[in-house]
Subunit: 213 residues, 2 copies
Amino acid sequence: MKGAVPRLVAELPTLPPEEMRDGTAGRILATGLLLFARNGYHGTSIRDIGEELGLKPANLYDHFRSKEHLLAELVRIGHAEHLRAMQAAVVRADGPIAQLQALVRAHVRIHAEYAMLATVATSEMHALSPELVAPALALRRQAEALLREVVARGVAAGVFDPPHAWVATAAIGGMGIRVSFWFPGDQGLTIDQVADLHAELALRMMTPRPGAR
Amino acid sequence: MKGAVPRLVAELPTLPPEEMRDGTAGRILATGLLLFARNGYHGTSIRDIGEELGLKPANLYDHFRSKEHLLAELVRIGHAEHLRAMQAAVVRADGPIAQLQALVRAHVRIHAEYAMLATVATSEMHALSPELVAPALALRRQAEALLREVVARGVAAGVFDPPHAWVATAAIGGMGIRVSFWFPGDQGLTIDQVADLHAELALRMMTPRPGAR
DNA sequence: GTCTATATGTTGATAGAC
DNA sequence: GTCTATCAACATATAGAC
């Protein structure tokens, strides 16, 4: 038996419109996302995916070269969408404070709006072989660099004063990643509210407490 | 192929001394931990575990009732050790500030020192059936309650002013959970340093920025 | 405690008809 | 595009000898 405690709260396999495909390929993509998010890559068989769609296992191979290629495509889409949102965020903002706010909002928004995609992209990428994971990995490094650079600029400008820039950046990334598991939760929070709250928390991390040694 | 990008940086399947077992059972426990942490529960076969130990698959069933029971034991141990550390932390500290510091330190310490155990406990618990996950789930709820109560007490006392108590608590939990994936990292940080840094970040989350609306 | 041997089901993937 | 049929490998688990 599997799935006693759900891995994530989200129930819909939302995909970015610009990455969605027509017809059966698109339905396989969405169903693979749903099942990989719930049960993991190794916990999902191509038969599971087929049954969910009323298809036979063999049909999958008319649209994707292998089960691993299906996962690779989802992982790539997730990282591409994440980087796209992060890049758009920095461009639109001026100065370290506004840029950090924008980056954290974008980071959290992606993890809330595309909770399943984000879960699969980060939690299942380790199931991929070196060749198939490479594109996503390159995108991931760029997104991380974006966040590190904004923090570094803020520190250099004397606007940010984190106790440790690298750890603070990891913490900001980590709390955002976690959102994809609990959102929407039972607090009645919208995506924008969660994004704004995390942006505020991130800014506080950059600001010394009065009276702290 | 699997494991192109490692799921976590830690390489040793450390178990709490008081939960360790003698002889073959203990070696199976440690090896199960190692492989479940690296490749996931569904990505690991009992043959993989046997081969790593120079044993035949059948031997596992002399020590554990099933593969799932082996995972359940690891998940239970992880959550038990986590709660134990959290409880010891609150007891030793006085007042919301010291208690939050102590809790976050304990939370992060567990995720750094027992990185594989923490990874398996949180990332693989969803593979367990309702009966087998129940004990760990109960422990998890207690640990979460501990953190929420300390934050609530700090807010009630006027010492903490988070933008949103529930989200801030989730964020503190999330950044700690992430530590088990990247620690020890390449920054040359000790467990104590990472723990202290996260405690400081958590306290900052509770403290309004000067001039913020 | 560990072994051999095996039962029984499921896996990812392919070939070829319609 | 979808189907049936099938393969070879692998899965978890058990029985019983040493």
